[in-house]
């Protein structure tokens, strides 16, 4: 087999994987702090796509401004969802699964709301950057390069925020011991709301970058959510490093896998890896350590 084709697929895989990592780190953040999964995470992504379409295509704003406003809006949506839904269901003895189930409900609600508001027709957003680069016989559109750059910048910013900022440290403290966080003056209720908002931002960033490649529609979040769920389980629930490594790793394996299997087998590859990892390391690759 030609080496350049394999190389091309690896690079494509890294790019797709960086988006998986972006989506998965949002889920991971929520699991780390609130010990629940957010099945409406795909709908944050979907809303991000629609906001981008409305602002960039319909209102004609430039992509940077449109993206910034979308991020701000979806942050607020995330915060409101936590306050209105998750907040009331947390910490009820015997209700451990209820926040998770409620996120299913929110997911269905948001899908149907956007169907009602914007219709079922698929919408397209033009590439933010035209043209493509060629090197070593590999062709890569500038847009895809931009995806990778944005994903790396966003994830690195998230990491630095968690590691060094007053707020990020408080967020980690909350995830490790809530009562201890409270007695040190951290308002954990606020932390939970902000965590949801940040998680929503990550999904929106993914949506802004991917929407020009795939089209915008009310169901666009479903398949990506499924992938992101597989990624956080493979990487280890709550582990940010795990989400990043598993995300990129899965992207590459899928990319290379296409050379050997038909493309509709992509999900089979993802979930086979999931099953194998669960078999060998039930807590995921980095599951013992929380970020």
């Amino acid at each position: 087999m030609d080496v350049t084709i394999v190389l091309q697929q690896i690079i494509n895989g890294v790019i797709v994987g960086s988006i998986y990592a972006l989506m998965a780190s949002g889920l991971s953040l929520i699991w780390g702090t609130m010990k629940t999964l957010n099945f409406a995470h795909g709908e944050f992504y979907m809303l991000g796509g629609f906001f981008m379409f409305i602002l960039n295509v319909q209102a004609g704003l430039n992509p940077i401004l449109a993206g910034a406003i979308s991020i701000l809006f979806i942050f607020v949506v995330g915060v409101i969802m936590q306050r209105l839904v998750i907040h009331y269901l947390m910490d009820k003895p015997g209700w451990d699964v209820s926040p998770l189930i409620a996120t299913f409900g929110v997911s269905i609600f948001l899908q149907n709301l956007s169907l009602k508001l914007w219709g079922e027709r698929f919408k397209n957003i033009p590439y933010y950057l035209g043209g493509e680069a060629s090197f070593f016989g590999i062709n890569l559109s500038y847009h895809r390069i931009l995806i990778l750059i944005i994903a790396v910048v966003v994830i690195f910013t998230l990491w630095a925020f968690l590691k060094y900022s007053r707020f990020g440290m408080a967020l980690r403290a909350t995830s490790q011991d809530r009562d201890a966080a409270t007695i040190n003056g951290i308002n954990t209720k606020k932390m939970f709301m902000i965590t949801f908002g940040i998680s929503a931002i990550l999904a929106t960033a993914a949506a802004i970058m991917l929407s020009p490649i795939y089209s915008v529609n009310p169901w666009m979040g479903e398949s990506l959510l499924l992938k992101a769920l597989a990624v956080i389980v493979i990487g280890g629930l709550g582990s940010l490093v795990g989400a990043i490594i598993a995300g990129v790793g899965l992207g590459v394996l899928e990319g290379v896998g296409i050379l050997f299997f038909p493309s509709e087998w992509q999900n089979v590859i993802a979930f086979s890896i999931l099953i194998i990892v669960l078999w060998i390391r039930p807590s995921g690759l980095f599951g013992t350590k929380e970020w």
Binding site: R166, A173, D177, D179, A181, T182, I183, N184, G185, N187
Partner: protein
């Protein structure tokens, strides 16, 4: 300084504290004694806002502490060293200490406060980058106390600081508590080790099944036959 007036505290359906009142005078060391399960930790957790009393009041001066957002209690000058230390185990020693200065005004001066803690516990400076969960019990207790001191408290509540530590380390921790008290920090101490607690405290309460069974000046309690039998094992 701080007065607790007839509080009832529940864990779910179970009432743990029954109409309990205590008074902590400024600048003193007050001990809360009692056997396992008497409700000592529950009282501290109520004072620091983790639990809320169903009835009664917690007053700091004229301010109701049981009605304000729990996370703001530390900003009123009350710091809590919880039972079992409760460090952020996957964060470094330094990060743990810094979290004690989370409040905005303190955050600006966190470097200076950190230096003060490192002067107090040179050992922690050596270990500053180490994950808190990997420290020895004594070192963890130092981090827990250091973290509480980072908030520049007027009152320090310590929950069983001697638990699980070697006698020598216990001694140094109690010396430190006395020093902090001399510097003007009001101390509320919860202990199972009644002897050592009575030695350093001015006033003590003995808890039994969530009620005050006995109270008095430490030297009087030390002579009390009941205390001798029940807690000092004499």
């Amino acid at each position: 300084m701080l007065s607790v007036f007839e509080i009832d505290v529940f864990y779910g359906e179970v009432q743990v504290i029954h109409g309990l009142s205590i008074e902590i005078k400024k600048g003193t060391t007050t001990a809360l004694l009692g056997s396992n399960g008497a409700g000592k930790s529950t009282v501290l957790r109520t004072l620091s806002g983790i639990l809320r009393p169903e009835k009664g009041q917690v007053l700091l001066g004229n301010n109701r502490l049981d009605k304000i957002e729990p996370s703001t209690i530390v900003t009123k000058g009350i710091a809590h060293v919880p039972e079992g230390r409760r460090l952020f185990s996957q964060m470094s020693v330094e990060e743990n200490l810094i979290m004690g200065a989370f409040e905005k005004k303190l955050w600006a001066n966190r470097k200076d406060n950190l230096q003060y803690i490192y002067d107090l516990f040179p050992r922690l400076k050596e270990r500053r980058m180490q994950e808190a969960g990997t420290l020895s019990g004594g070192e963890q207790q130092m981090v827990a106390i250091g973290r509480a001191l980072m908030s520049k408290p007027k009152m320090l509540m310590l929950d069983e600081p001697s638990l699980g530590l070697a006698p020598k380390i216990v001694e140094s921790i109690f010396e430190l508590i006395q020093d902090l008290n001399k510097e003007g920090i009001t101390i509320l101490l919860v202990e199972q080790n009644a002897q050592i607690a009575l030695e350093i405290s001015d006033y003590s309460y003995v808890l039994e099944n969530g009620r005050i069974a006995l109270e008095g000046k430490a030297e009087n309690l030390m002579d009390n036959i009941y205390v001798k039998q029940a807690y000092l094992g004499l």
